[in-house]
């Protein structure tokens, strides 16, 4: 689980100890590992097969660049092919139509359609200065229309007044008419969740499409989706016709293979991603980040941005100043540990670090996990104010007391003190790099044993 693809491929090529052009046998052995990695990341089987075939064509006979290992070379080819397949550039929402431009949201039950409708409405309002109207065509789920109305209040986006008893097609027509009459730029149509195999409801969605001629029909799908991604994407595309995909819950820790599956079987771009429950938690799709996640290769950009997001700016600046003056104390360390947990814990952060296959392995062996972070916080919590300020006070007697108070061992206390010293030293060195550097160095030293 912890091993990255790069590490696995390293092993494959280790055995072969070859140089020069990649031979078919080597490539096949490597691609077996790639296959498993993709399946573990929930890429659907038929898509995996096509993908592997595509990579094989590109890889055989490829010269291995001097400075890289054959394993790295294959990973590079796989990674590039993955980005090609995912779509190298971001594709914007298409608003080039006569206003009001209808946008239809469809997908399985609970995939995030209603939330995404509100997020998109807010984004179009704020970023693109559009006048947006939202309407819920969900007459099935309990309180679905009310849910969108509440989201409308929260975002300040107008929602179509609810008329009880109206069917989805009638509501859609009324929304587009109101949009035209009242000078709206965009009309967002939220629909009820439906199963790919539910012919009746798929026909209903097709009827809404025919009545409104949407400029975009967005399939909203969960990043945690498994093998069914191909079935659902194909069904929605064939029966309703989609123009793009929104991948939700990318803030989770799923590897996100569904993105590749859906893109591959529909040929439609992933236009947006949902990255939280809050209404501003929406972003354009970055293929390189998902590619790294699918392959388990980590994503430095993601790490840095995530860190930057989570850290209060002032806190980081304060930390940098203190580190520069050598005043980094245990309270600061505790703050860092809290930060680490906020970012999704060690496993979350580790998932984002590049080339951490080896560290992860070491961590797994050393059984470093989120519980340890909690124990470390408990240790600091058991120190007196004076001790937290001045590490020199921590003699043997005090360390024993702290261990007892925090329900840990003296060895753990000693290890924490060592990490603290290391952290202070590292932070001092990299203060020049600015806040992000401080954060990264601080975190990095936490992983060291």
């Amino acid at each position: 689980m912890f091993e990255t693809l790069t590490a696995k491929l390293g092993d494959v090529f280790e055995r072969l100890k070859r140089r020069g052009a990649l031979a078919e046998g080597d490539v096949d052995a490597a691609l077996r590992e790639v296959r498993v990695a993709l399946l573990e990341a929930d890429v659907a089987l038929p898509v995996v097969k096509d993908f592997i075939a595509g990579v094989k064509l590109k890889a055989i006979g490829q010269e291995v660049i001097r400075s890289v290992s054959p394993g790295q070379m294959v990973v590079k080819i796989v990674h590039d092919h993955l980005i090609d397949t995912l779509g190298a550039t971001a594709v914007e929402i298409n608003l080039r139509a006569v206003p009001p431009v209808p946008i239809l949201m469809v997908g399985l039950q609970g995939s995030g359609k209603t939330t995404t409708t509100a997020k998109l409405a807010l984004r179009l309002t704020q970023r693109d200065k559009k006048k947006v109207l939202m309407a819920s065509l969900d007459t099935r789920r309990p309180a679905a229309q009310e849910q969108l109305a509440v989201l409308g209040q929260q975002t300040g986006v107008v929602t179509l007044p609810i008329i009880a008893g109206q069917d989805p097609v009638a509501i859609a027509r009324r929304a587009v008419e109101a949009g035209a009459r009242e000078g709206y730029d965009v009309v967002l149509l939220d629909t009820a969740g439906r199963l790919a195999i539910d012919d009746e409801l798929m026909a209903e969605a097709a009827a809404v499409r025919d009545a409104t001629k949407p400029a975009e029909t967005l399939l909203v799908a969960d990043a945690m989706t498994g093998q069914d991604a191909v079935n659902l994407a194909r069904a929605f595309n064939e029966k309703i016709g989609i123009t793009g995909i929104v991948l939700t819950r990318v803030d989770g820790d799923a590897r996100g293979g569904a993105a590749l599956s859906m893109r591959a079987v529909t040929g439609r771009p992933i236009k947006l991603i949902g990255i939280g429950e809050k209404l501003d938690a929406i972003d354009v799709f970055h293929p390189d980040r998902i590619a790294g996640r699918i392959l388990g290769m980590g994503d430095i950009v993601g790490l840095v941005e995530k860190a930057a997001e989570t850290v209060e700016k002032e806190e980081a600046e304060k930390l940098a100043r203190k580190a520069a003056k050598g005043e980094f104390d245990f309270d600061d360390m505790a703050a860092q540990l809290r930060q680490l947990r906020k970012m999704g814990g060690l496993s979350g952060v580790m998932g984002l670090l590049p080339g951490v296959g080896k560290i992860k392995k070491q961590m797994a062996e050393a059984k470093v996990d989120d519980r340890i972070v909690r124990r470390q916080e408990a240790i600091i919590g058991s120190m007196t104010k004076a001790e937290r300020r001045d590490v020199r006070l921590l003699n043997g007697r005090r360390r024993r007391r702290i261990a007892k108070g925090s329900g840990t061992t003296v060895e753990e206390v000693n290890r924490l003190v060592k990490q603290y010293m290391e952290m202070g030293r590292m932070m001092k060195q990299v203060t020049k790099l600015g806040q992000k550097g401080v954060m990264r160095a601080g975190m990095a030293s936490l992983f060291r044993r």
């Binding site: 995939s111 995030g112 009310e146 849910q147 790919a196 989706t225 069914d228 429950e277």
Partner: protein
């Protein structure tokens, strides 16, 4: 809608190779590589994950089949193996009638079907003559309270709710007090969806449990984790984290009426041995079934539910 229709779709290609493989295999004992591969692919396509799939295939690799064995027989043999893995985790939901109330906390990631499942369970329990109280512990999502209220009306259950954005732990506490005062048999607490990797939201859930324990140290008597059958391998991480944070002791798998088969449950059963107390097979109040290992296993292999 006929939820068994899906069983036969999508397997044609791998089926063919399997049939050819069996034809070659009969009499020689053991299936050939192509047949095994076709079977393995069927398992992977049902979300069992590459490692569980390959282990199951290893188990059947040297199995001898009778001369008359056809494709269905081979699939059935494999389905039986899987059903045997799942058998220990099939346990119906059975709140203790001696408790007043029996407290059930329902948790899971966003949109998995928690609120709907509570509605369905309430119906099943009410039909059994129990008095149910529902607590609207999702104080975050828009109209979550209204949604639960509608389920309360449908099932004749009282709903306890608080202000939007209120502390879910305080609401749970109040609801338990109300349920006691009412002499209710079962209290079901709905919670907001949360991704398991959000530490703060998981801590919020742990707090709900802590606060309930102040009133009844044995409560919650059941903590049900609701999993969406559409989810792939990430379901393993969900179970792992929710279990460690709030002592989950039962699972509900929803949306099994769709085209997803929920095969990750096999790995979950092996790793965590958590009972599957019910499955969701639709959006209606009656669309809840007991978990049948044999039926579930057969559906993973594209076989019709009955033998």
């Amino acid at each position: 809608m006929n939820w068994f229709r899906r069983l036969t779709s999508g397997l044609a290609r791998s089926s063919n190779r399997l049939v050819e493989g069996i034809a070659r295999a009969v009499g020689r004992g053991g299936l050939d590589a192509a047949a095994l591969e076709a079977l393995e692919e069927a398992l992977i396509a049902a979300d069992l994950g590459p490692s569980v799939a390959s282990r199951l295939i290893d188990g059947i690799r040297n199995r001898r089949f009778d001369k008359g064995a056809d494709e269905v027989a081979v699939r059935e043999a494999l389905a039986e193996e899987i059903a045997a893995i799942l058998a220990p985790v099939a346990r119906p939901f059975a709140p203790d009638p001696a408790r007043r109330p029996h407290v059930v906390l329902v948790v899971g990631v966003n949109g998995s079907g928690k609120t709907t499942t509570i509605g369905k369970l309430a119906r099943a329990l009410a039909a059994d003559g129990r008095r149910i109280i529902l607590a609207a512990g999702d104080t975050f999502r828009a109209a979550a309270v209204s949604q639960l209220r509608i389920w309360g009306e449908r099932t004749g259950s009282r709903v306890v709710s608080g202000a939007e954005g209120a502390d879910p732990a305080a609401l749970a506490f109040e609801a338990l007090q109300a349920a006691r005062a009412d002499g209710a048999d079962v209290l079901m607490i709905d919670t907001a969806g949360r991704l398991h990797n959000k530490t703060d939201l998981m801590a919020e859930l742990a707090k709900v449990v802590r606060v309930i324990k102040k009133l009844d140290p044995d409560a919650p008597h059941d903590v049900l984790l609701v999993l969406d059958a559409t989810t792939g391998q990430n379901a393993l991480a969900q179970v792992e984290t929710f279990r460690s944070m709030v002592a989950v002791n039962g699972l509900v798998v929803t949306k099994l009426d769709g085209s997803a088969r929920g095969g990750v449950l096999v790995a979950i059963a092996e790793k965590f041995a958590l009972p599957v107390v019910a499955i969701g097979v639709g959006e209606g109040v009656e669309d809840l079934s007991a978990f049948s290992p044999a039926e579930f296993a057969r559906s993973l292999l594209g076989l019709s539910p009955q033998i």
